[in-house]
C-alpha cells in the first residue's frame, strides 16, 4: 500500500512501486481524466503536475510521486474554471477531446512560468503534446486568450 497526495487529497493505492503513476491514477484512484496515449513520453496525453511541474505520468513510477503533490486535470481548478480551461471552451479547442487534458496541463504549467508567452514559447512548451485531431492552431489561440484572462483576473 502506497500513500499518494493527489489534488490535495491523501489516497492509498494498492500498486507496485514501479507502476506508472498514470495507471495508479486511472485504475487505482479512478481518476480517468489523465489519458493514455503512448506510454513512452511521446504524446503528452498523460501530463500531470508534480509539485507544479509538468511530467509525463506514463513514465513516472508511483515511487517517484510519493511525498509530492500530484495535480491532475480533475484538480487543476476547483470549479474547472482555470483560465486555461475557460479559454479552451471559449476558443472551442476540443475536437475529440482525448488529448486535451494533457494539453491543458502543459499549457497551465507554461502560463505559471511564463504569464504572457510568445508563439515560440508556446511551441517549445507544447511540442510534446500530440493532437491527432489537429487542434494546434486553436491551442495556440487559446493559450494567448488564457494569458489575457489570467491577467484580467489578477
Amino acid at each position: 500500500m502506497a500513500t499518494l497526495n493527489v489534488n490535495q487529497r491523501e489516497y492509498t493505492a494498492n500498486a507496485r512501486p514501479d507502476t506508472p503513476l498514470l495507471w495508479v491514477l486511472r485504475d487505482s484512484l479512478g481518476l480517468t481524466g489523465t489519458k493514455y496515449g503512448c506510454g513512452m513520453a511521446l504524446c503528452g496525453a498523460c501530463t500531470v503536475h508534480l509539485d507544479g511541474e509538468p511530467v509525463r505520468s506514463c513514465v513516472t513510477p508511483l515511487s517517484a510521486a510519493q511525498g509530492r503533490a500530484v495535480t491532475t486535470i480533475e484538480g487543476l481548478a476547483p470549479s474547472s474554471d482555470h483560465p486555461v480551461q475557460r479559454a479552451w471552451v471559449q476558443e472551442e479547442v476540443a475536437q475529440c477531446g482525448y488529448c486535451q487534458p494533457g494539453q491543458i496541463m502543459s499549457a497551465a504549467a507554461l502560463l505559471a512560468r511564463t504569464p504572457t508567452p510568445s508563439d515560440a514559447d508556446i511551441d517549445a512548451a507544447m511540442a510534446g503534446n500530440l493532437c491527432r485531431c489537429g487542434t494546434y492552431q486553436r491551442i495556440r489561440r487559446a493559450i494567448h486568450a488564457a494569458a489575457k484572462l489570467a491577467g484580467g483576473t489578477r
Binding site: 495507471w23 485504475d27 480551461q85 477531446g97 482525448y98 488529448c99 507544447m126 511540442a127 503534446n129
Partner: protein, 715 residues
C-alpha cells in the same frame, strides 16, 4: 416550402426505443445529464421533453470530435423553437431501424461525412412535429385555435391573450396529441440557430476530465485485459506458456481467444506485465515473408495487365498516340495507420440473459451483431452504450476490438475492459491502402490537355469490409477522387485493379480521395508544367463546366494572393478536390531549406459544403483534416517486414506537432444548397497542394509519399 412526408410508423416505433433509452442511456457528459422526470413527452425517437423544461435530444451519431452532439440538436431545436439553454444530449441505443443512416444502407453508422447530410430533413421534421404537437396541446388547454398560437424559445404563446405555457408545462397534454403526418419545415431564411456559431455542448466536459471515452468506463467487479496478437498478419498462436504471466500479482486469467492470447488482471499494469511474461509460439502462416518491397513489386507487376474500366470518355489511347506531347508518370502511396489518440478500447458484461457493451464505436448495430453472434444472445438482449470516441477517422467502424472484448468477458464470466496499447493499435490496424498508379496524358500543340489515362492498382477495402459495394469488379472506394476528376479533357480513361496484399485495409479519413487527390492533382500539375501553363490558370480553363470547383478554386487563389509573389523563400502550390458532396481547394505556402527541410507556413482553404449548420465546426474540421492530411503527406508510412508492421509508436510513426503547424485560413463559400460532408473533405487537397508547392520551390517532382523519403534541395 418543401416538406417530406414522415413515416408515422417510424415515429411510433422510435418512441418505444427512446423509452428504452431512458433506462439505459449512457451518461457521456460526465454526470451532467438531467434526471428523468415523471411524464416525459416523447414525440419520437429523438426528443424527450420533461416537466423541468429540459429537452433531451437523443443523438444517433457518434461524437469523434466532429461536433454531432451540437449539430444534431441544432437541427431539432431550430424547428422545435426550443430554448437552446435547455437542450441536453444523450447517445442513442443500437436501433438501426430508427437511427440507421439511409446514406449508408440503413446501418447505424457514423462515417462517410454523412451525419448532417443524412439527418438534415429527418431531424428537422422530428423537431417540427414535436413543435406542432406542443402548439396543439396548448391550444386545447386554452380552448383556442392552434393557428392563433406561436412557439418560441421553449414555450407556446397565445398573443391575443398574452397567455404562455412552457414546453415542460405541456408534456402531459402533448403526449395525447396525435403525431402530425406532415409537419411544416421552416424557410431557411428564418433560421435562428442553423448557420450560427453555436457553442459546442459537448466541450465543457472535455476540458475538466469528466468526459468519458471507451477507455474510461468503470464498473463494479470489472477486470482489465490486454491481448497479444500474432505480429504477422493472419498468424495464429500454436501454443503458449502462461506460467510466467500467472505468476504476476494481480493477473486473474490467461485465455486464448480468436485473435490471440488475453491476459486479464485487476488493473492495466499487471495485465501488461503479465502479457510481457507470456511465452507464445506462433504459426505465422502464409504472410511471414511479406515486405514493403515485395508488396510494391506485386502491385507493379499487376499494373502490367489492364484493369476494370471505371470511366471512359472518348478514346484516350488513340488521342495519346496522336498527341504532340506525352507526359507519363508512376505515383505511389504507402499504407497508413489511423493512430487515433485513444487506442482501441471496449468494455463488455456478458450474462446469461443479456450483454452490455460500452465503447466508442462508429457502428452501433455492427457492435450489437458481433456481440450477439459471440454470445448466442438475441439482438434485443444486447445493449450498446456509445461513449465519446477518442478519434475515429474510420478506425472505429471496425469491430475487432469489440469481438475480442466480448470473447474475453464471456470466457472469464466477469465484466472486462480491454485496453489496447499504442503498439497494438499501430500494428493491428486496418490500413489506408498502398497503391501503385500508372498515368499518362497527351497535350496538343497549343498546350491543351487532350487525353488522360490512369490505372490504379491496390488492395480493396470493400472486398474485406463490405463486398456488396463492389460493382463490375470495381471497388468504388479505390477510384473515388480519380474516376470523377472534374476537368474537361475530351478523352479520359480510368481503370482499377484490385490486388490483395495480405495487409488488412480499411476506411481512413476521406478514403480513396485521400490518395487519389494527391495522384491526380499532382499529375495535372505535371501536365501544366509540360504545357508551359500556370497550374491555376490551366485548372480554371479546364473547369468551365464544373462551376462549383471553379468558384472554390478561385476563392482559394484570390485569398492566397496567387499570381502575386509569395514571401521570399516561399513557393505556392494549389489543388482542388471534391469528396463526400463538398469541394475544397487549398493553396499551400511552403519553403524548402538548403538542407532540404520542408516547412509548410500557410494553408488557404476554401470550401463549398453547401448550407452550413455551424461555421465554427466547419472551420475546425477543415483545420483538423488539413493536419491529418499534412502528417500523411510529410511523413506518414506504415512499412512491412517479415509480415508485420515495422512501426510501433509515435517515434517511428510521427505526427505533426504544434511547432510545425502552419496557419490554416478557412474560407466558407456561402451556399443555400443542401449540406455536404465536412469531416473528411478537408483532407484530400492538402498533400497535392504541398507537393505542388515543393515543385515550385525546388523543381523536384515528388511522385510517391511521404515527402520525407525524398532528398530535396532548394533551387
Amino acid at each position: 416550402m418543401k416538406t417530406t412526408r414522415l413515416s408515422r410508423r417510424v415515429f411510433l416505433k422510435g418512441a418505444v426505443v427512446a423509452g428504452a433509452g431512458l433506462t439505459m442511456g449512457f451518461d457521456l457528459a460526465g454526470g451532467r445529464r438531467a434526471l428523468a422526470q415523471t411524464e416525459p413527452f416523447v414525440p419520437n425517437a429523438w426528443i424527450r421533453i420533461t416537466p423541468d423544461d429540459i429537452v433531451t435530444v437523443i443523438v444517433g451519431k457518434s461524437d469523434m470530435g466532429q461536433g454531432v452532439l451540437t449539430s444534431m440538436p441544432m437541427l431539432i431545436a431550430e424547428e422545435l423553437e426550443a430554448d437552446w439553454s435547455k437542450i441536453r444530449t444523450e447517445q442513442a441505443p443500437a436501433a438501426p431501424q430508427v437511427y440507421g443512416n439511409p446514406a449508408i444502407g440503413g446501418m447505424q453508422l457514423t462515417g462517410g461525412s454523412t451525419s448532417v447530410r443524412s439527418s438534415w430533413l429527418t431531424l428537422r421534421q422530428a423537431g417540427a412535429a414535436a413543435k406542432e404537437m406542443l402548439v396543439e396541446a396548448a391550444a386545447r388547454q386554452w380552448g383556442v385555435d392552434p393557428a392563433a398560437c406561436t412557439a418560441e424559445n421553449g414555450a407556446v404563446l397565445h398573443p391575443p391573450t398574452g397567455r404562455r405555457l412552457t414546453y415542460g408545462q405541456l408534456t402531459d397534454t402533448a403526449a395525447r396529441v396525435p403525431v402530425p403526418p406532415n409537419p411544416k419545415l421552416k424557410d431557411p431564411k428564418n433560421f435562428k440557430l442553423i448557420g450560427k456559431r453555436v457553442k459546442r455542448l459537448e466541450n465543457p466536459p472535455k476540458v475538466d476530465g469528466s468526459a468519458i471515452y471507451g477507455i474510461d468506463v468503470k464498473m463494479a467487479g470489472m477486470l482489465i485485459a490486454t491481448v497479444v496478437r500474432c505480429p504477422v498478419f493472419g498468424g495464429k498462436a500454436k501454443s503458449f506458456d502462461a506460467s510466467g504471466a500467472q505468476a504476476v500479482a494481480g493477473v486473474r486469467h490467461v485465455v486464448p481467444i480468436s485473435s490471440g492470447i488475453a491476459v486479464v488482471a485487476d488493473a492495466y499494469w499487471p495485465a501488461k506485465l503479465g502479457r510481457d511474461a507470456l511465452v507464445i509460439e506462433w504459426d505465422e502462416g502464409p504472410n511471414a515473408g511479406l515486405s514493403t518491397a515485395g508488396i510494391r513489386a506485386m502491385l507493379e507487376a499487376a499494373a502490367k495487365q489492364p484493369g476494370r474500366v471505371a470511366r471512359q470518355e472518348g478514346d484516350a489511347a488513340t488521342a495519346l498516340a496522336a498527341a504532340a506531347r506525352r507526359v507519363e508518370a508512376v505515383y505511389e502511396v504507402p499504407f497508413l495507420a489511423h493512430a487515433t489518440m485513444e487506442p482501441m478500447s471496449c468494455t463488455a458484461s456478458v450474462r446469461a440473459d443479456g450483454a452490455d457493451v460500452w465503447t466508442g464505436t462508429q457502428w452501433q448495430d455492427g457492435t450489437q451483431k458481433v456481440t450477439a453472434s459471440i454470445t448466442g444472445l438475441p439482438l434485443e438482449a444486447i445493449k450498446v452504450h456509445t461513449t465519446l470516441l477518442g478519434g475515429g477517422f474510420g478506425r472505429r467502424f471496425e469491430q475487432d476490438f469489440v469481438t475480442e472484448t466480448v470473447e474475453i468477458a464471456k470466457a472469464v464470466s466477469a465484466p472486462v475492459k480491454l485496453v489496447w496499447s499504442r503498439e497494438d493499435d499501430m500494428r493491428h490496424d486496418f490500413y489506408r491502402p498502398a497503391t501503385y498508379n500508372a498515368l499518362a496524358a497527351g497535350i496538343d500543340a497549343q498546350g491543351r490537355p487532350l487525353a488522360w489515362s490512369h490505372r490504379i492498382v491496390g488492395p480493396s477495402i470493400a472486398a474485406r469490409a463490405f463486398p456488396p459495394l463492389i460493382r463490375d469488379g470495381i471497388d468504388p472506394t479505390s477510384v473515388e477522387g480519380a474516376a470523377n476528376i472534374p476537368y474537361a479533357i475530351p478523352n479520359i480513361h480510368v481503370e482499377a485493379i484490385m490486388k490483395d496484399t495480405g495487409v488488412p485495409v480499411g476506411f481512413w479519413r476521406s478514403v480513396g480521395s485521400s490518395q487519389n487527390a494527391f495522384i491526380t492533382e499532382c499529375f495535372l500539375d505535371e501536365v501544366a508544367a509540360a504545357a508551359g501553363r500556370d497550374p491555376y490558370e490551366l485548372r480554371r480553363a479546364l473547369l468551365t463546366k464544373s462551376p462549383r470547383h471553379l468558384t472554390v478554386l478561385e476563392l482559394a487563389a484570390a485569398q492566397a494572393g496567387w499570381g502575386k509573389p509569395p514571401a521570399p523563400g516561399r513557393a505556392r502550390g494549389i489543388a482542388v478536390a471534391e469528396s463526400f458532396g463538398s469541394v475544397v481547394a487549398d493553396v499551400a505556402e511552403v519553403s524548402v531549406s538548403s538542407e532540404g527541410e520542408v516547412r509548410v507556413h500557410r494553408v488557404v482553404c476554401a470550401v463549398d459544403c453547401g448550407l452550413v449548420v455551424n461555421p465554427d465546426t466547419v472551420e475546425a474540421q477543415m483545420e483538423g483534416a488539413t493536419v491529418y492530411g499534412l502528417t500523411a503527406a510529410l511523413r506518414g508510412a506504415i512499412t512491412i517486414a517479415g509480415g508485420h508492421v515495422e512501426q510501433s509508436n509515435f517515434h517511428d510513426y510521427p505526427l505533426l506537432r504544434i511547432n510545425e503547424m502552419p496557419t490554416v485560413e478557412v474560407h466558407i463559400l456561402p451556399s443555400a444548397e443542401a449540406p455536404g460532408g465536412v469531416g473528411e473533405p478537408g483532407t484530400p487537397p492538402i498533400a497535392p497542394a504541398v507537393v505542388n508547392a515543393i515543385f515550385a520551390a525546388t523543381g523536384t517532382r515528388i511522385r510517391s509519399l511521404p515527402i520525407s523519403t525524398h532528398e530535396l534541395r532548394r533551387v
